[in-house]
């Protein structure tokens, strides 16, 4: 995605680092046996791919599917040499009350990857998220959980 299309919503990074969401993250990630994480036969080709795969382990706080399957992750880029990872994502609503700790969760999960030096998470609102962005896999998982989409 070109820089032109990446519009950073500037108010969100404010206060980052002052709020510890690890308790919430533990609840939304560590204790979510309902989350179906895909398995890959081949190792990730590069750091960007590894980071994208890792985000399948970060669930939406409400629904038992990952942020990737929910369609919130728009782009993941990485520089293998420096270990810098950049995630471009959106949220279902402009006033989603989970924005802070979802961003925290994304950053923390990617930081666990060996070789990652820096993670930035950018929020964009264009194109707007709609339920059409849920992946086929996400739809199957939601249906299995009794949620129709």
């Amino acid at each position: 995605m070109s820089d032109r299309l990446v519009q950073i919503e500037r108010s969100r990074p404010r206060g980052e680092g002052t709020m510890d969401w690890s308790g919430v993250a533990a609840a939304t990630r560590g204790d979510r046996p309902d989350l179906d994480v895909p398995q890959w036969d081949e190792p990730a080709a590069d750091l960007a791919e590894e980071a994208r795969r890792a985000l399948y382990e970060v669930p939406d706080p409400e629904y038992p599917i990952s942020l990737v399957d929910l369609g919130l992750i728009y782009d993941v880029t990485a520089d293998d040499a420096s270990g810098r990872v950049e995630v471009t994502m959106t949220f279902t609503a402009t006033a989603c009350p989970c924005i802070d700790f979802i961003r925290w969760d994304v950053r923390e999960r990617i930081r666990e990857i060996p070789g990652v030096s820096e993670v930035s998470v950018e929020t964009v609102w264009d194109p707007p998220w709609t339920a059409d962005r849920i992946t086929d896999r996400g739809r199957r998982l939601l249906n299995r959980a009794g949620v129709s989409v």
């Binding site: 519009q7 500037r10 404010r14 402009t94 006033a95 009350p97 264009d126 998220w129 709609t130």
Partner: protein, 294 residues
């Protein structure tokens, strides 16, 4: 005007002509930049304070469903306010100060929002007339030449669609009883007068300049016409003498009153600003906010 080097060319319109886009507010020529900063602050403040009015009806609405809808609409307004305040960083304003450190006279929210909303019909007038006015103004930025702006518009308008449906449905419900129509009359008349002038006058050079620069797609008179067309069918159900049918749709039966109007703030000059205790203390988050910082 000589286009700055950072501008990007893009195809636009059915005629296939190209137009230049601005990648950031710094690239905007004056006075468009200043006028847009003014407008964004008006929109941010109005949405933020409108959110408080919606929030006041989460409990005590006529039905449980209406209360839940008010909760959702309050949340939306605050989300939109957050996006708009954040943008003002690029206009040389400090979002932290804007959101948390201003007094009543510095707010640019519509004077309709200065006092708490006492009745459901008053809230409904804000929901149908003021909230829709904001959406008409924002919709005019959908194809804005300022890219950071038009990238945020679609999401905001997606969420606002339901506000309009809510307002339209409830206005029809009020129109179905004599008592409902009677209670709705005065709040609608007051909100109509305020919203009619909210877009600004045709002589407002700054607002017209934004249209000429392609930051918004129409001048104040056209925006007002769009707003009237959208809300008039509902208004006609409860307060028919405010509107009139015309050859191409609807018009206002009354003219805007510009007495005391301040174009930059889009407020009446002598209006005091939002009630500091009842409204702004909550808008700013005064209580307990000191716990968050040094």
């Amino acid at each position: 005007m000589t286009p700055p080097e950072t501008e990007t060319e893009t195809a636009s319109g059915e005629g296939g002509e190209t137009r230049t886009l601005y990648g950031s507010p710094e690239e905007l020529p004056e006075p468009a930049r200043e006028a847009l900063g003014d407008l964004l602050l008006v929109l941010a403040d109005t949405k933020r304070v409108l959110g408080i009015h919606y929030a006041d009806w989460i409990l005590g609405s006529p039905t449980l469903e209406a209360g839940i809808a008010c909760s959702a609409m309050a949340q939306d307004e605050w989300g939109h306010g957050r996006i708009l305040y954040a943008m003002l960083d690029d206009f040389g304003m400090d979002p932290e100060r804007l959101e948390h450190e201003r007094g009543p006279s510095e707010y640019r929210s519509s004077e309709l929002l200065d006092e708490p909303t006492d009745s459901w019909p008053e809230l409904l007038a804000l929901n149908l007339l003021l909230d829709t006015a904001l959406s008409v103004q924002i919709e005019a930025m959908r194809e804005s030449r300022l890219e950071p702006l038009h990238h945020k518009v679609s999401k905001i308008l997606d969420e606002e669609r339901y506000h309009f449906e809510h307002a339209r449905g409830w206005t029809a419900r009020m129109a179905s009883t004599d008592r409902g129509r009677e209670a709705t009359g005065e709040p609608f008349r007051e909100a109509w007068r305020a919203c009619l002038r909210w877009f600004g006058s045709e002589e407002d050079e700054l607002a017209s300049g934004l249209a000429a620069e392609g930051i918004v797609d129409a001048a104040p008179g056209e925006l007002r016409r769009r707003w009237v067309m959208r809300v008039a069918p509902s208004v006609a159900e409860v307060e028919p003498h405010l509107v009139q049918e015309t050859e191409d749709g609807w018009g206002s039966a009354v003219d805007p009153d510009w007495e005391g109007w301040e174009p930059r703030t889009r407020r009446l000059r002598d209006a005091p600003g939002p009630d500091d205790e009842a409204i702004l203390s909550r808008v700013r988050g005064d209580r307990n906010r000191s716990l968050l910082g040094e």
